[in-house]
Symmetry: C2
Subunit: 431 residues, 2 copies
């Protein structure tokens, strides 16, 4: 007779429905793999009366999440409400009661990870959050466990499916941002309010979580430098393609001289890089480690069932530990590294300038770059009767110098406007 | 004061040296992440007197593996000797003594997995073998744990670095097999005796292990249908490229109508497939799961440090469990599926025929295909004054029918020889 472990579910939207569905459909295999029956027995939702068509008894629904957390007959909490509060309060309460928690809540983990890890450790129970980063892709567990004997040196991730979908379509169709975004919204690939996706907020939360694990230090959401894709134009993408690059919204975390640098922004990636061929709404995380070398993890970053798969994987892990009175690997933050400010970044840059179509412009522009210590690797002039454009790719330069250059260019009489500035990540791969 | 866990190392060749190096260099971080010091204290080697230049006391070396396994002061065994026996005997003895084992031994796990899993379960200790499949790539743990709530439907893996290196160079340089193999041997990418790599033996062992985990059933090395790359020619690769394919040695495991089909052979893969861009000695495993969708895991499949990284990851896992008197997830084989014979495979095929350059040949060849129930999707004729070749791509057909077709063609008066037959995997991806 298998033991029964009872799960309290907080939230039952798209992802919660995925969890319920998978636990129901795969019940037999899950019992065989876990050594216990896993049953959802209480579900907290905003409107318990709403018809959801899920294979659960209607009496399980309640509008009181705390009652689910505190119920004596609940062994484990699965939190899929999202948002920092009140979700964080329920999770802290569950841990306090010695109940393990599985969550998909990236905002919460990116904002309060260290406190939550400490609470779980103190309670001697698991806090699992595989689904918080890159949906179905196993990445938290590989970082915490498989790479526990290695030293991660850099992570480059495509961590947001909406923006990758938009950039892929812009790239393959030559279309403009606004046009593709509207279409993505109509097709359900982008939210009605896409801000958190397109401004890099969502990717930054995931990047903070990965950086914390990679470098054994607390990286908070606010530590992540962040730029979105709103200003990426069809011209930028065309120019990138001409030079052998694709533009991707990437999260890059690295350790440089004992400090941690974490940033999310659109970047030129070489077309040969494994990440460059990650299309549509797929996510991928490229990891460089001292001994393992280059690794990449690829898959679906969102969706009810992919995210549900990751959550149920965590639930089974937690259940296996519960049955043995054990817990999984702890996050360690023993290296407590400072964050390197973005000003000290050194990378290459792409700068697109609308300029006056007259002689001497290139010389003046080149002089401005040189005066700020930024050396130019490639330059050419485009344009027609009405306008002229200068495209420049710099050598590796200091972010603060590049910024000063751009400010000076913006005031230059021969530059009508600085149309685009994007980082060029030529050195993100070694193979 | 941290607890100390003492490791007995069986074998100290390339991979063993990698393990010693990583444990030494990363000792502080590993202690922080594990909660215990991990120390190698005994090492069994063939020649204890040999100078190895590793950071260990020469007194640790012994030529008696059993003394290492049985030593009272050894908490955990790491086996990197390779080969089925005597390695298997030492592992069984260690488990019998209640000592967990980490192994990189794919031959052994592919041959005796179920018995070993059962022995570890009975002893209540871990048997970990992440390094046995695809070197540094975390795949065993994701299969056993992250995907424990999902249902894997298919795995397609590039599981051998040597053959992928050879095929990549053949593909990119237009070179012939023998030429590239000789060069690969000179460069150390292929062994002096490359048989186990080029004939698919190594990939088949890994594929058996993955299939067992994916489908909760015992898949033995002998259950894997296997063809190597020795007969792949520059012409085959050129022809594939012309049709939009690349040739890769793949391991494919799938569940079809309640049976498990497992095969390793060179195959045409569509150029757009994520596996098609896996170059050189890299490995990758593409997994299709019911809920997670498509996943891919990419990285280095061999080498002292990549393989060492995977082993040390396992060692830390095992140590964390030892400290809690717990053990990791068990392999489950509760579904006990029969193996589908290769004769019942349905896929597409590429057939290259040297034919007489005379009218009526195509009609005769087409008639032969049709008579055996194999329908032709594409055909064209190449050739010059001396020779004529027919290239055919079939629609999906039954392997046994294709084989009968090829036998009939070989006896046909207008066919000089059947130059090549390769499987075409057009349907390995859904995106």
């Amino acid at each position: 007779m298998d033991r029964v472990l009872r799960i309290g579910l907080l939230g039952c939207g798209t992802v919660g429905g995925g969890v319920v569905t998978i636990l129901d459909r795969e019940a037999d295999d899950i019992t065989a793999r876990t050594g216990a029956k896993l049953e959802i027995t209480r579900i907290a939702v905003r409107d318990p009366a709403k018809v959801r068509g899920l294979p659960v008894d209607a009496a399980m629904y309640t509008d009181d999440p705390l009652s689910v957390v505190e119920a004596d007959d609940i062994d484990m909490i699965v939190e899929v409400m999202g948002g920092i509060e009140p979700a964080g309060g329920y999770i802290r309460r569950a841990l306090e009661l010695g109940k393990p928690v599985v969550t998909a809540n990236k905002e919460l983990v990116a904002a309060q990870g260290p406190e939550l890890y400490a609470a779980a450790l103190a309670a001697g129970v698991d806090l699992a959050y595989e689904a918080a980063v890159a949906g179905a892709i196993p990445i938290i567990k590989p970082m915490k466990e498989s790479l526990a004997g290695d030293r991660v040196t850099r992570i480059v991730g495509i961590l947001n499916g909406t923006t990758n979908y938009i950039l892929t379509r812009m790239s393959e169709e030559g279309a403009d941002y606004d046009e593709v975004l509207a279409d993505a919204q109509a097709l359900g690939y982008a939210e009605a309010d896409p801000t958190a996706d397109v401004d890099g907020h969502d990717a930054a939360a995931k990047c903070a979580i990965l950086a914390s694990l990679a470098f054994d230090t607390a990286v908070h959401f606010d530590d992540v430098f962040r730029e979105g894709i709103e200003s990426v134009t069809a011209t930028d993408i065309r120019t990138a393609a001409r030079l052998g690059y694709v533009i991707k919204l990437v999260g890059i975390a690295s350790e440089v001289d004992d400090r941690v640098a974490v940033r999310v922004h659109p970047a030129f990636l070489p077309r040969e890089h494994p990440l460059a061929s990650v299309r549509g709404s797929f996510n991928a995380i490229y990891v460089e480690a001292e001994y393992a070398g280059e690794l990449m993890f690829y898959g679906r970053g969102a969706g009810a069932l992919p995210t549900g798969s990751a959550i149920v994987g965590d639930v089974i892990d937690v259940a296996r530990n519960l049955l043995q009175t054990a817990r999984g690997a702890s996050e360690t933050q023993h290296r407590a590294k400072p964050i390197r400010p973005i000003d000290e970044l050194q990378t290459q840059y792409y700068v697109l300038l609308d300029v006056e179509d007259e002689t001497g412009v290139l010389a003046e522009v080149a002089q401005t770059f040189g005066a700020h210590g930024v050396s130019i690797a490639q330059v050419w002039q485009d344009g027609d009767a009405d306008s002229a454009q200068l495209v420049l790719i710099t050598h590796r330069a200091l972010e603060s110098n590049l910024r000063a250059t751009v400010e000076a260019l913006a005031c230059s009489s021969s530059v009508r406007s600085v149309a685009s500035v994007l980082r060029v990540e030529s050195e993100v791969f070694t193979s």
